[in-house]
């Protein structure tokens, strides 16, 4: 009964395909459509819903009610926005590189959508079940950078260029801690296959046992966040993912108080909507891979599968919104320093921690490994973090400050 939804959905797909059993070519087309279309549509729907969620959440954090005019609780607001975007004039700057200006939104949407395809949404719900899905995901998501560069460079606007530059620098820098914190998971799961990574996050001896309590907790306690290296890795991953997705507090490429809207400055109308959607969907994709790697994927008690994945995805996004409502934006130099001098060494250390944990688990069993991992591992990480932040502090100048214009 556990994977009920997923099984039903897979069955539904088979059922639809069965109609075309006599026409192999048509069947292939239908199969491809079934793999892609629902995915694309549901993520676009999720995008619309998330814009509403974000506006509502931010509003409540800032003691405002948020959108509440269109539909119940303003739920139809995204539709109204979409119509508005569609009706707006599409302005292309006179001296812009017209081809690239046109291509950039498409280039952003393509990797975002492909990245979503690599996510194991449920048991058997996997659009691109490649053997090396995870590394493919990171490869594809690095293409975002190119789209942002295109948008920023082709606009021929200084703010766009600045935004593009910031985006490229930031995305390159944060990709490294992102991948490194994922490496620990891949190492422990022993596979690059997303489904296997998900499967590794069950306590396998408990899940099949038939004991209700063990069935219940076996699907929760096996998640990687509940392991010392996984917890630390998840935090590093999440921070890096925020930067990869250009989300606050790393939204420097679009810092509206500094450079208008960064690479989006010269976009309007539907192209802007597409760019915006691309950013959200790549944020979804990154959050989704975070769920897969650390939060147990579609594992969960009672309704394992799609419902759990969706729940986790939206909770992760809610945390992103929460962070956006809380933290101020970083400075550019702080941003790069944070990635290279803080997150990166810690992520490497975390890989060692994972290896240490693995060794302990083999040698003395899970309980001792957990204990030692949490105690020593976290102590080590904390110490390293403190040491790094000490090391990275800019030197304080203790000489007396001279105010030249005052004297």
């Amino acid at each position: 009964m556990n994977n009920y939804f997923d099984l039903k959905l897979v069955e539904l797909g088979r059922w639809i395909e069965a109609f075309f059993a006599h026409y192999p070519t048509l069947k292939l087309v239908v199969h491809l459509l079934l793999c892609t279309l629902p995915l694309a549509l549901s993520f676009m729907g999720a995008f619309a819903f998330t814009t509403w969620l974000e506006r509502k959440g931010l509003a409540r954090i800032q003691n405002r009610p948020g959108p509440n005019r269109v539909g119940l609780f303003g739920l139809l607001q995204p539709i109204a926005d979409g119509i508005k975007m569609l009706l707006k004039e599409d302005i292309v700057p006179e001296r812009s590189d017209k081809l690239f200006h046109f291509l950039a939104p498409i280039m952003l949407m393509i990797p975002a959508m492909i990245g979503v395809g690599f996510l194991p949404l449920g048991d058997g719900l996997h659009a691109l079940p490649l053997d090396s899905a995870i590394i493919f995901f990171f490869a594809i998501s690095s293409l975002n950078t190119i789209a942002v560069f295109m948008a920023g460079w082709s606009s021929r606007n200084k703010y766009s260029l600045l935004g593009g530059m910031r985006a490229v620098a930031q995305m390159i820098s944060y990709e490294i801690p992102l991948v490194l914190s994922a490496v620990a998971v891949i190492m422990m799961a022993g596979s690059l296959n997303a489904q296997e990574v998900v499967a590794s996050q069950q306590i396998s001896s408990w899940v099949g046992s038939g004991n209700i309590l063990q069935e219940f907790f076996g699907r929760i306690l096996g998640w990687n966040v509940f392991k010392p290296w996984g917890f630390a890795g998840f935090i590093f991953f999440f921070i890096a993912a925020l930067a990869e997705a250009n989300r606050s507090p790393f939204d420097l490429p679009e810092a509206d108080s500094e450079i208008i809207a960064g690479h989006l400055t010269e976009y309007s109308g539907f192209k802007y909507a597409i760019l915006f959607m691309g950013e959200y969907i790549s944020a979804f994709a990154i959050a989704g891979i975070g769920v897969t790697l650390f939060l147990g994927g579609w594992n969960g008690p009672v309704f394992a599968g799609l419902p759990w994945f969706v729940l986790k995805l939206f909770s992760l996004f809610a945390v992103m919104i929460w962070i956006r409502g809380t933290l101020p934006r970083l400075r550019v130099d702080q941003l790069m320093g944070y990635a290279w001098k803080f997150l990166f060494p810690l992520a490497i250390l975390n890989i060692f921690l994972a290896g240490f944990y693995h060794f302990l688990e083999r040698q003395w069993g899970t309980a001792i490994a957990m204990l030692a991992g949490w105690l020593f591992g976290f102590g080590a990480l904390q110490l390293a973090a403190i040491a790094l932040s000490r090391l990275n502090q800019s030197p304080t100048i203790r000489s007396k400050r001279v105010y030249q214009l005052v004297e």
Binding site: A139, I140, I172, S191, I348
Partner: protein, 182 residues
């Protein structure tokens, strides 16, 4: 399969050709990226997913971006369209390319005799096997490379940390510019 191969091959050749003929440097870099992605597609056709992923990750995600980042800051990306590009040595260059291509292709053709080899029946490529190969016969070289990279990274971190506290505190106050009327 065959159609996909020819399509990707066409894109690859087109991308490579455009990369050397386009006058706009940014466009040229993007056609190189097009070439890279077509190559990744070809790897995928060979069922070498991992290589394809690495192709995308390293060549498009890093090398391409690096080139773009350098070019982004140049003011004049187009150059003078009226001045024709002339290179005396193009004949030699062409010959070198042909020689290289022949050097790579001829042995292969001679070995297979112009016939495509029969597909392997128990071919099961996986990342696991790749990992096993890397960890078993090539472990030593892998270790050396890893060590080298780690040393490089630590060096980079040290270089990025900057001057020590004492150094900076010493130099800053004396070097302050003073207003002439003060």
């Amino acid at each position: 399969m065959i159609v996909a191969f020819y399509l990707l091959a066409l894109i690859a050749v087109l991308g490579a050709g455009l990369a050397i003929t386009l006058r706009n440097v940014v466009h040229a870099v993007f056609s190189v990226l097009l070439f890279f992605s077509a190559l990744a597609g070809l790897f995928l056709l060979l069922l070498a997913e991992f290589i394809a992923a690495v192709q995308v990750l390293v060549y498009i995600g890093s090398v391409g971006i690096l080139m773009l980042f350098a070019i982004m800051l140049t003011t004049n990306v187009v150059g003078d369209p009226n001045r024709p590009v002339q290179s005396r040595g193009w004949v030699w260059g062409g010959l070198a390319v042909v020689a290289l291509l022949a050097g790579v292709l001829l042995p292969i053709i001679s070995r297979t005799g112009g016939q495509s080899p029969t597909p392997l029946s128990d071919f099961n490529p996986s990342v696991k096997q790749l990992g096993l190969v890397l960890m078993d016969p090539y472990f030593a070289s892998l270790g050396v490379i890893a060590l080298l990279l780690t040393a490089g990274l630590i060096g980079a971190v040290v270089a990025a940390t900057g001057a020590s506290e004492a150094d900076q505190a010493k130099t800053v106050p004396e070097n302050r510019p003073r207003f002439p009327n003060n």
